[in-house]
């Protein structure tokens, strides 16, 4: 599914290397988690995968089902099946959430040569998915993320993911800022999308989320590299002992 090889990334604006050779391979239907200290490059990895400006790839590759992601525009990556749930979802005054969702869904369908969803079908679908995430009609009508609470924004990300049905989902700290109940809702939303084919990359600081979304592999990122990979027990180790031991061990 997703294959990242020796990915090296600098900032465009200043002389600074952020990613120093990231290797990651996620197979079909797998759930991988990335943990790691603040500033280690987790969000940067997700941004570079989805095509944000401001980064310069100086080496390595990233492919989705063999297609070169790094060569595509962000919208092409999305149409190819990549989705990023943002650590900090953006507020967009003046653009209705519903209009935004419909435009996105139909743009992707169009890019893939599929027929656009009719207004009626779209509405039915969005209502059903929103209900499962306890997103009310008012939130759908409001401008995208404007005036949403932290937790509402994260649920809105999952709603977008559910509507767009990507094959590779990257979740950047979707659990931060969520109360216990909201975390369960989000986890249920994610688990509902697990169908044995769709793959997930879950960036998190907390083991708690991984109780709900069971990862196959846990990676530890530090200073722009994956320094250790293991099973779910690795997340527990981080939870109990922090990163010091792991970092000392690999140093």
């Amino acid at each position: 599914m997703l294959e990242i090889k020796n990915l090296q990334v600098d900032l465009e604006e200043e002389e600074k290397t952020i990613l120093k050779g990231v290797d990651l391979k996620i197979g079909e239907g797998e759930v991988h988690a990335i943990m790691g200290p603040n500033g280690s490059g987790k969000s940067t990895t997700s941004y570079v995968l989805s095509g944000k400006d401001g980064y310069e790839v100086t080496g390595g590759s990233a492919t989705l089902d063999g297609a070169d992601l790094l060569d595509m525009e962000p919208e092409e990556r999305a149409a190819a099946g990549l989705f990023l749930a943002f650590q900090y979802p953006v507020e967009i005054p003046g653009v209705g959430n519903m209009t935004f969702l419909r435009t996105a869904v139909n743009a992707q369908r169009k890019a893939r040569g599929e027929e656009e969803l009719s207004a009626g079908d779209f509405l039915k679908l969005v209502r059903e998915k929103a209900k499962a995430l306890k997103i009310d009609a008012d939130m759908l009508k409001r401008p995208v993320n404007v005036g949403f609470s932290g937790g509402e924004k994260k649920r809105n990300e999952i709603l977008q993911m559910a509507m767009l049905e990507p094959k590779m989902c990257v979740l950047d700290e979707t659990d931060s800022g969520l109360d216990v109940d909201a975390m369960k809702l989000v986890a249920e939303g994610v688990n509902a999308l697990r169908d044995g084919k769709r793959s997930f990359l879950v960036i998190t600081h907390y083991q708690r989320l991984l109780d709900h979304i069971k990862p196959d592999v846990v990676h530890i990122m530090a200073d722009g590299k994956i320094v250790k990979s293991g099973g779910p027990e690795l997340a527990l180790e981080v939870e109990n002992n922090g990163y010091a031991d792991i970092l000392a061990e690999v140093a």
Partner: protein, 429 residues
Amino acid sequence: MAVPSIKFDTAETLISAYKMPTGAKWSDATRTNAIARLREMGAPNKRDEYWKYTDPSALTAIPAANAALFENDETPMFDSIDRLRVVFVDGVYDPAQSDDLSGENVVIETLGDALGKDIHWAKDLFGALEADGQNPVPRPLATLNTAVASEGLVIHATGKVNRPIAIRYVHSSESSDAMVHHVIKVEEGADITLLESGPGAARFNSVVEVDIADNGGFHHVRTQGRDHERKTVTHMFARLGRESTFKSFTMTVNGVLTRNDTVIELTGDDAHATVGGASAGDGTGFHHDDTVFITHDAVNCESRQVFKKVLRNGATGVFQGKILVKPDAQKTDGYQISQGLLLDEDSNFLAKPELEIYADDVACSHGSTVGAIDDDTLFYLTSRGIPRQEAQDMLVLAFLGEAIEEIEDEALAADILDRMDAWMKRRQG
């Protein structure tokens, strides 16, 4: 600084170039007076403070420069709305294309017909609000209009007028130089909607004078568009009585030069005035100027100015807006916002917001911003699969939408939004 004599030379040139209508009966004295006033104030000049950001020479040149005709295959503006249609071709009333000028609670005459009468109620208004609006800043092009315009409508609303009066200006000759003057009287408790659309002429000078009595309402939606080479100067003078409402919105696209002056005087307590505008300009040739002057001269009145301009490829947008609060105009609520969205580094937005307040119990605020499309927002949209251009259009429309929202009538607002959307789509690829 010595006033350049060119102002007065140009005024003389204008006065001799345009003919004052002969035998204009009740308007004669007003026109003679306007000529005298114009002589005294001179023509606008780019060295005038009020024309600092907009060079008026194309508006005063004799003869007016030609403007190529523009083929427009769109359905006419406001087509889906039940309206009374009035058509002016190159500034001349065209009865053949117009509906019968009669409606419930309203008397509509052409200015030409009204001028033919020995005595007319319009005598007290025609040129009067324009003359009032000359202080403290002269607006000579409106005075010129008063002096010589023989085309326009004279509208008397005596009650609720259900169908909007929709004026369409058709540009049909490359060398047309049109002058149109409308006078509108809204009686106590009456209410009327005026719609204006179209480029008008190669050069188009319009004046609208609106007198709104107590509890009256005047709604105005105007589109100036789709004609690439036209030049336009408009003036709207409004006087508001007690608890009356004035709402005016203008959408502008294309054209090389547009200057819209709006001069409002709130003279009765508890009155409300809103002036809004959304404009979109493409290319170094585009220059669009909204100039607003609102005088609060009564208690507990509210005024709003909301202007948004999106500019690309070297286009220029100007906003000059002033709120003047007289000493007795306590409890004034004045709001003003002007924003420019620049789609590239070649475009310009120039704003001069002003407040002049002589009362002590008022709430006035103004703000002006200029910016570009936010990269993070654009990335968010594209990361969801929305192509960059479409995402940008969504953001532009959202930006303009905040001004379009000022239109009270939802059907009209939707119509305007659709046109803006279509304008944007034509610029894709």
